[in-house]
Symmetry: C2
Subunit: 236 residues, 2 copies
């Protein structure tokens, strides 16, 4: 990890440990420079990273302030944002319904930019949060990139395995959200009535080289899921 | 506008005009430097801005590539992302239901960080997209910041007025999403049945100095709205 990333992490931890609130002012640049024994440009890089992550906001001529949304219990829609109450902070478990190597559907092949004759790992899971159904997930992994999966891996965090087990670098994602009504089958998995509201999130995950590796369709239990997104200023 | 921002805009326009697709490679750094008669650091700043906006992605050792999600007809959930099919690209009209100065609700006051005795502009509108109901919007504007509104302003883009008319700098926002069922009243405004699915998006908009100025609650017609979000790599 580069020095500025380390400093960014420490500032983030300092904010959390001291329970600072949105609008609280951080020490000035010179104080941070001596505190972390780093050059001005290193501190600036750390602060810019934190601002992009939504942890601080900078006001020219005024200083650096904490950015920390107030509501508890909301899940971060984007996994790369700071102070996320991400799934890791909740007790999330998975029940694997299906795991097999197969050929992709037309939709999955199109989203993964592969041919219909290439192999994918198909994973279907129901995920639970604090014992309640959170979502139904169907994912298609390009098997030439995600070369190995098994039941044990998919009953935990598949992305932890992809990053640490396979050592791959996860890059950007395109997410598509739609609200609709649950089908009989989806309602069955989530323990809700058919026709109840659902939030569908389709995501195409890419490696840092731009290659799509996972096309995932998640149907959320509307009673268990509330999401937040931090949108940065267009001046950033 | 600074030079690197101008160059970023021109690169974005070049991508659009030439209908480049996700994964298409842009000219190398040296070519861009001579094309725009700019220094290496200026071009790098322009590309970093475009990467943050989700217009390009950069692969170390390979080059700069276009990032452009494939689906048409999706509305950008975050207004600061590139190639947004934002409401401006659709034919959106507004019907003003209410506009008045009043005291805020407890919820609005808390979200705006103001007292219950301070004045807000309360705006209630139904917005239409290509003639269909898009959403029901209720907004509370801190009147000490948004000092003047009238019917004509709120029947158009209020944010255009805030930025150009009042000359204010809009900063970051915190958005909270929830899926639920339409109440009788909401269903009435949207022309749907009570109990149908709804997407609720509550947003707190801030100025660049961090001050909240608008607390908005939008209820979307699920049949007319599909959203996309571009999530950047956590390596950015």
């Amino acid at each position: 990890m580069l020095k500025y990333q380390q400093i960014a992490n420490e500032i983030e931890k300092y904010i959390e440990d001291n329970k600072l609130q949105q609008g609280d002012k951080l020490p000035v640049l010179e104080t941070l420079m001596s505190q972390f024994e780093a050059s001005k440009s290193t501190i600036i890089k750390a602060l810019d990273l934190l601002e992009r992550k939504g942890v601080v906001f900078q006001v020219r001529g005024s200083g650096i302030f904490v950015r920390r949304h107030k509501r508890k219990g909301y899940i971060s829609l984007l996994s790369n944002q700071g102070f996320k109450e991400n799934l890791e902070d909740f007790h999330v478990t998975s029940e694997v319904i299906e795991l097999e190597v197969r050929k992709p559907t037309e939709e999955a092949a199109a989203n993964l930019n592969i041919g219909r004759d290439e192999d994918v790992y198909y994973v279907k899971r129901v995920r639970y949060i604090n014992g309640q159904t959170l979502c139904l997930e169907e994912s298609f992994y390009n098997k030439s990139i995600i070369t190995y999966l098994n039941s044990e891996i998919v009953s935990e965090s598949i992305f932890d395995y992809i990053k640490e087990g396979l050592g791959l670098k996860v890059g950007f994602s395109d997410m598509y959200l739609q609200v609709d009504k649950l089908s009989e089958e989806e309602a069955g998995y989530l323990g809700l009535k058919a026709g109840s509201p659902k939030l569908c999130v389709e995501t195409i995950f890419h490696l840092t080289n731009g290659q799509p590796f996972d096309f995932s369709k998640v149907t959320y239990n509307y009673e268990q899921s509330q999401f937040f997104v931090q949108a940065n200023s267009s001046f950033l």
